[in-house]
Amino acid sequence: MEPQTKRWKGLEYDTDSWVVYPVLSDEQSQDVELIEAYAAPILNKKETSRLVRELNSFFPLNGHQHIKRVRACKEKGTPHPLDILVCLTSDAPDMKVVGLNSLLPSDRVKHDGLGEPFLVKIPARPPLTRPQFELASKHWPTSFHEDKQMTVALKGELFSPPEKAAMHMYMRSAVTAAKAAKDRGMEAVGAVVVNPVTEEVIAVGHDCRHDHPLHHAVMVCIDLVARSQGGGCYTFDSHPACQLIPPTSGTHHNEPDAEKSSQPYICTGYDLYVTREPCVMCAMALVHSRIGRVFYGITSADGALGTKFKVHSQKDLNHHFEVYKGILSKQCEGLNASSDRIQSKCLEER
């Protein structure tokens, strides 16, 4: 028994054992969609700027400003160094044979220095992330306004070691609550609501769906937060691990004016830590509650913050929030495994 406890403790303080990744919207995470276009080799480099000018006015790339007009031909051995994008196939006139003459009236765009057109595939939309940009650029040169924070986040490097240590601590409380639920024969899911400004835990809850089918850990926490604001409609007194954490005095008194003018309003500005990805009911409850950010350990089969839906980035909804996953993933994963499996794994690792 003893060595096992020691081992778990050792793991719990190791913030390098897990990596946080953002859960992006479909637009940010989808593959690069391609559309067809005609390009043509520039046979005489000196004509390039004139060709760009004339083509820009005759075949403007409306709605596709991310596409660069000219690309360098990478392959050595090609007699011409540049290709130019003539137009999207959807903008091209109907023609029996594809050729410069049918594509470009020579009184508008002089054909000097231009070779015969050919089909290419170009990215349909501007890339939103570096991975999308890198994929898009393989097809045709594309401009990219990089969101530096996003690039860092996608590498799992958005949070500093002290920030990770705090996240580690909050998620550990959620894991502890989940274990308490499991010990009582309930679903092993735990959640914690934190005010990131004061760094105070406001509520801790665990899954109580054996009492009530809708009392998932997130719903329990939302009602506990309501209670902290003088509302709430349930009592979780029979579950000691579901609790409101009274605010510590001191931190608030430093700025009495600030405190008075910003009465908390539902979960506005708060962070939620939950051991596994919330279901669609809980995800939407978090939208209604105006949660600030959500951090979860592992994905779930019916999850609605990344797996089945992305409620946090759903178009048409009036509130959106950032979602991160991977926090304390091993410990969260371990909650779902049977206790024998955890034990045998620990023995193996020793």
Binding site: H212, P213, L214, M219, I222, D223, A226, Q229, G230, G231, G232, C233, S261, Q263, Y265, I266, C267, T268, C279, V280, M281, A283, M284, A285, V287, H288, S289, R290, S300, A301, D302, K308, F309, V311, Q314, D316, L317, N318
Partner: protein
């Protein structure tokens, strides 16, 4: 639970309210919504009907509980549980033969809650363009979510214009519980 109970729940798939029932119960749901409007809550009213008996009535209680999840449907689901307890009936069995009548399409959260409770039929008035979970924003009602209960059938459009008008009336008013603008009275 006897065999008769079982065979009835098996017929739940064909369970669908008649026009007369819709007329009657939606009328009652509208009365609940009017009550909500008079009490400064979002005017949505619902009731749950089991074997021609109203077992639950709900209206929005978000402002009085400071809990943004207290929508009419979730309030009614709590009442349905209480009713089953008082009558010593199994909640799951009752739910399988219970229809929800609600003035506005359930939101994404409520649609999932209805799946979790295995409610087979939802009759609603107008679409919910802001939050709807039965097709308007997301389609939860018919989604394949094996961990989140069962799908349900929707019957929509009854007195839709009237339901929309009530919502418009509400949103023209100020929400007294929303955070105050920077300038403070007192």
């Amino acid at each position: 639970m006897g065999g008769a109970e079982e065979s009835k729940s098996a017929s739940a798939e064909s369970f669908c309210p008649s026009d007369a029932e819709i007329q009657k119960w939606m009328g009652a749901a509208f009365d609940v919504a009017k009550d909500a409007l008079e009490n400064g809550e979002v005017p949505v009213g619902c009731l749950m009907v089991y074997k021609d008996e109203v077992v639950a009535k709900g209206r929005n209680e978000v402002n009085e509980t400071k809990n943004a999840t207290r929508h009419a449907e979730l309030v009614a689901l709590d009442q349905l549980r209480d009713w089953c307890r008082r009558n010593d009936l199994d909640v799951t069995h009752v739910c399988k033969q219970t229809a929800l009548y609600v003035t506005v399409e359930p939101c994404i959260m409520c649609a999932a809650a209805l799946c979790l409770f295995n409610i087979p039929v939802v009759v609603y008035g107008c679409r919910n363009e802001r939050f709807g979970g039965c097709g308007s924003v997301l389609e939860v009602s018919s989604a394949h979510l094996p961990q989140t209960g069962t799908t349900f059938k929707c019957v929509s459009g009854h007195r839709a214009e009237e339901a929309v008008e009530m919502l418009k009336t509400f949103y023209k008013q100020e929400n007294p519980n929303a955070p105050k603008p920077k300038t403070r009275k007192e």
